[in-house]
């Protein structure tokens, strides 16, 4: 079905329309399951003043870290950002605004955006600096903080396999934030290791239905490992 074929054939095409000052949500945890090539394309495009919501900001020279090199990120929304010297420098100098957000709250903010829920209450962060300026309300004797959805102009996600309609499955824990990020973009761009034909994936086993995916591209991935821990066989 032509209208449902989401496949694009170049990274230029994949990220077309991204402009200065836009907001992006990105899948990935650490550098596991990150849309490596889409990030590199953003670097190549040179767009500036980006707001990026992602659990982490990559490492020096890989993942979202590469967008720091030319100071493309204005605001970073993340739960943990400690693996990156350039990040530290730009944060310290005030060039980079950082909005630290608890990991579960960040995941739920992305889900909420995709699910048409503008805000929800969570106990996470009550009584901490995170709750400052936010509404606190009591339900059944406990205190909860009101948190709002994060909607983005673009979502960039990485899946394992997808069919041409964008129905996707993730591999192991490379799933992480990708399924929620996929729902939160006005335009969702997905890169995958393999594109298959519709009908090859079991409908009940699809993690991200194709309705969320606007553009789909097959790429090759370095899949760098952040902490290589092994035991002897």
């Amino acid at each position: 079905m032509s209208g449902f074929d989401k496949v694009v054939h170049s990274y230029d095409e994949a990220m077309q329309g991204l402009t200065d000052g836009m907001t992006i949500v990105a899948g990935g945890f650490g550098i596991c399951g990150i849309p490596e090539n889409l990030i590199n394309q953003i670097k190549k495009m040179g767009v500036k003043g980006l707001t990026i919501a992602s659990n982490n900001c990559g490492v020096d020279g890989f993942g979202l870290g590469v967008l720091l090199e030319d100071k493309q990120i204005k605001t970073m929304i993340a739960s943990y950002v400690g693996e990156n010297k350039l990040f530290e420098q730009q944060m310290m100098s005030g060039e980079l605004e950082v909005i630290l957000t608890p990991q579960g709250t960040l995941a739920e903010k992305m889900r909420a955006a995709g699910a048409g829920i503008p805000a929800f209450y969570t106990a996470t962060g009550y009584g901490t600096p995170i709750a400052e300026g936010k509404e606190v309300r009591e339900f059944n004797g406990r205190h909860y903080v009101l948190e709002e959805a994060i909607k983005a102009d673009f979502a960039i996600v990485k899946a394992w396999k997808a069919d041409r309609y964008g129905n996707a499955i993730y591999r192991h824990t490379a799933m992480n934030f990708n399924p929620m990020a996929a729902t939160a973009g006005k335009i969702t761009v997905m890169e995958v290791e393999e594109i298959v034909e519709p009908g090859e994936l079991d409908p009940t086993q699809v993690h991200t239905p194709g309705i969320y995916v606007d553009r789909l591209i097959q790429g090759t991935f370095e899949k760098r490992i952040e902490r290589r821990t092994v035991r002897s066989a």
Partner: protein
């Protein structure tokens, strides 16, 4: 003698019960996995989306797509499940994880915990810690009793910005195991060879010392 890191892990492991779903923080908490008492089995949850975390992989098993919340490569056990970050924190936030072990900079008699931010120092972020402390019905904090200058980390009021308010009920330090109740630490056990006096002198927050404080054995 203060407890070693291994002994702290071993002591906390004694709180585990058969069938517990457990989330271990980074650092000493991770070591708890090495001391699961005989006859019981627990399943480890890793907040990046894995229930049923196994050992580190062999060289052959190594897979960049299978990591834990500490970003280390891991394996899965039989009967594991893998899910998204929002499903993982739904599991955590909804109180389904039975037992959580975390480090901290400070705890206080109100059960407050500070573990993520020291003003003036580089702030790396709270990761999943705020979600974990706000959610788990059952948390143990593992920490040293005092800092390297001898200043107590068990306080009447946390001085550092909080990670969570009123959520901690149990603390294991290198000197003692304590519970928090009605605005005070209750001294439950002391490390082998550590005197009650030493613990009292290193506890800044209100401390209740029962008549008998048993010594831990290892």
């Amino acid at each position: 003698m203060t407890l070693s890191r291994e002994q702290m892990a071993q002591r906390v492991a004694r709180e585990l019960k058969d069938g517990y779903y457990v989330n271990l923080g980074i650092g000493i908490p991770t070591l708890v996995a090495n001391y699961i008492p005989e006859g019981i089995e627990v399943m480890f949850q890793s907040e990046n989306g894995l229930l049923g975390m196994g050992a580190y992989p062999t060289e052959e098993e190594l897979d960049a797509d299978l990591i834990n919340a500490g970003k280390e490569t891991v394996t899965t056990i039989k009967g594991a499940s893998i899910f998204s970050s929002s499903d993982s924190f739904a599991m955590i936030r909804g109180g389904h994880v039975d037992f959580t072990v975390l480090g901290a900079f400070e705890v206080d008699v109100q059960g407050n915990i500070a573990s993520w931010m020291v003003p003036g120092k580089l702030i790396k972020g709270m990761g999943g810690a705020m979600d974990l402390v706000a959610a788990a019905p059952n948390i143990i904090v593992i920490m040293t009793h005092a800092d390297k200058y001898g200043n107590s980390k068990l306080l009447d009021h946390c001085a550092l910005p909080l990670t969570g308010a009123g959520c901690i009920k149990r603390v294991l330090t290198d000197l003692a195991y304590l519970e928090i109740e009605n605005g005070a630490f209750i001294l439950k056990e002391r490390a082998p060879g550590v005197s009650v006096e030493e613990i009292v002198s290193k506890t800044a927050g209100k401390l209740i010392v029962p008549d008998h404080v048993p010594e831990m054995t290892f």
